[in-house]
């Protein structure tokens, strides 16, 4: 890169103002945002971003699942665009930064290039993907998933919200069924800037997370069956207490993750007792198991270890233990070249940085199946996201956007 590009910096204040302006659409009294996918508020948000994109001279393309691609032309129209983006739909009690930051950081990159009249070789595109959150319609990461052909457009269209309205109907209603076939859109490389949604960067006092990939996830439901009986008249020796057996397995889920530190994760988030009465020994306990690791082979080994423990526990206790798979998401490593580019940019910009993995899914998981992909994390306050109190520092958001600018310029190329 030449001198112009290495000294180029985004306008952090403008980025912040755009974030705050977009956050007014669907703003909640507690300072968050509720802008569920394919609602009128989502439409307003989309129209606002597109209006800003048009002001910045971008050309808009929309595909049949409502993904929007906002293109800044390059010198060589034959090159696949270097893309960035994320989503603007939110959780019901969502924050201002999740997703929105990735889209508006892309817009800020474009505005910065415009300010300095910089022309890139490859085109640059800023995308927002439909229904990343999956709050109103499952599955999550719907737009990027259809784009990557993880599932079909028909499957996505058929998804219903709690009131029975479908994605197909709602997408048409808000006027965002585009012409382009999802996936018929080349991507040269993809970078996504995002708040971390976890506590690692803040805890380490680091500005930039260089994301190496996304953890593989295995979800299970576990049921331990004992015998319900009165807490008073039943001596300890004659009990078949489902909870006492279940708690040992719950602890093992965490112990397994700890054996596979630092990337292993193990969580029991949901527990249900039957009959759940103060003076009745639990006859049945159902609970969820969530296992994650950056390597699929390891997360599968973790699952095998939990299963083996459960079998020993069943033999020892005499209580049946059933473990049923619920969902499985493969791990996704990001492109080495993109990951190194992010690290290099953070380094050259003088930002403290740390190699991290993403525990949560992002649209970048699907683009990584199609094109070299990388992600840039910035800290969020207390690691909290999917919450109206979600917060991030303006200087961190600006830093992440500067890294994004550098990696996109490096990929897109600028003639000296």
């Amino acid at each position: 890169m030449n001198d112009i590009t290495t000294t180029l910096r985004v306008d952090g204040r403008r980025l912040w103002d755009s974030l705050m302006a977009l956050a007014r659409i669907g703003a909640t009294p507690k300072g968050g945002v509720c802008r569920l996918a394919l609602t009128d508020l989502d439409r307003q948000g989309r129209e606002q971003v597109i209006a800003w994109a048009r002001e910045a001279g971008l050309t808009i393309t929309i595909d049949r699942i409502g993904n929007c691609f906002m293109r800044r032309r390059g010198r060589n129209a034959a090159l696949a665009p270097v893309m960035t983006g994320s989503h603007i739909d939110t959780q019901p009690t969502g924050g201002k930064f999740d997703g929105n930051y990735g889209v508006l950081a892309g817009l800020e990159v474009v505005r910065t290039l415009n300010d300095h009249g910089i022309e890139t070789e490859a085109p640059i595109e800023v995308a927002f993907w439909t229904n990343e959150e999956g709050s109103r319609f499952v599955p999550v990461m719907m737009g990027s998933g259809v784009f990557a052909r993880a599932f079909t457009l028909a499957q996505a269209y058929a998804a219903q919200d709690a009131e029975g309205r479908t994605v197909g109907e709602e997408l048409a209603r808000i006027g965002f069924v585009g012409d382009e076939e999802p996936g018929d859109h080349p991507i040269g490389a993809y970078f996504e800037a995002h708040i971390e949604q976890g506590p690692v960067l803040e805890d380490a006092g680091v500005t930039i997370g260089v994301v190496s990939g996304v953890l593989g996830i295995r979800w299970f439901d576990c049921t331990v069956t004992g015998m319900e009986a009165h807490a008073g008249p039943t001596p300890m020796a004659l009990r078949r207490d489902a909870l006492q057996v279940a708690t040992r397995l719950m602890q093992e889920v965490v112990a397994t993750a700890q054996r596979h530190a630092p990337e292993g994760r193990g969580t029991v988030g949901m527990v249900q007792l039957h009959p759940n009465s103060r003076n009745v020994i639990p006859g049945q306990v159902r609970f969820s198991i969530d296992l994650r690791h950056a390597t699929d082979a390891v997360v599968d080994r973790m699952a095998a270890e939990v299963h083996a423990f459960a079998q020993r526990l069943q033999a020892e206790s005499g209580l049946p233990i059933e473990i049923v798979p619920v969902s499985s998401y493969p791990a996704q490593a990001f492109d080495d070249g993109c990951v190194r580019a992010v690290q290099r940019a953070a380094e050259s910009l003088g930002y403290s940085h740390l190699a991290v993995v993403s525990g949560a899914g992002h649209d970048a998981v699907y683009t990584a199946r199609l094109a070299p992909t990388g992600m840039i994390f910035v800290p969020c306050k207390d690691g909290i996201s999917h919450n109206e109190v979600e917060d991030a520092r303006a200087d961190h958001l600006e830093a992440g956007c500067n890294v994004l600018l550098q990696v996109m310029l490096e990929r897109a190329g600028v003639r000296a």
Copy 2:
């Protein structure tokens, strides 16, 4: 006792038939009984029992809380009656035997004495106490509790069901507000026959449980507070997982009871997570603790041990643990003389027997505050009670009734 009384036996068939007849009032399709306290069905049950008592020549007295005393005169009217009894109200999905057995066993004792023209020195009384179950109106053991002045008549009258109807109104409505002041009724001794409602006798293959007393109970609510966070992005080392801390304390509740075997009991029956979501680390866990032992000093020591463990766990984990007392019921040892009488009777009748404690409360807990008291347990199928499948063997019920006959005759005295 003389020869006549030692060879005397109840009519097991008649006892069984009475149990089945009473069970038809409020019978459920699954073979159980739903005869909630102070309902029309309770009235019908009361009237049936009183009709049988009148047929057997008994005199009825009712007190102001609706307890009924059915008296068979003795030679010496100045002696306090030897009383037996229990209750005829049931759980919503109750069985045929809980309570009803104790009342109808008493009636069978009377009928047997009538058959053989046996006159006792002291009068004999069969009682049924109002609202033992506490399903519709709390507290449990209401009639015997008012009788023993554990709480006032006014408090009992004010108790409301889920529809807002009070005990005072409902007792008047079914016509069972008597004249006698509760407790103004001398008791020479009290024996109560009851199904065990636990698995000990069946497990041991024993016919008669010689009940030494009723366990003291301590109830607590425990809250462990962590920090809710996303299961994916939060590394194990940065978690404050309330469930992982709570499960250790749940196990300690059971371990504590096991250290105080065989009479110690420890149960966690109710657990509630917040937010209870598959991919969120639990931020808070609330659960119940139920500790029991036959000796109050020991159950208090058990509670202290659980508290001490919780304090160590809080210090070690850094997660606040709050334990709040909910209820406390003192242990009640039965009268040595009565307990020995039950054992002697079982022995002389040739029934296998075992010293047991009652883990659940009974009306005998309150009579024990007023008069020498003992209880006779018989096995119930699989230890199950408070359930429509509650079952008991006719020969066991007959055996328990024969023991009851013997101890009542011994206490009441029969002139040779």
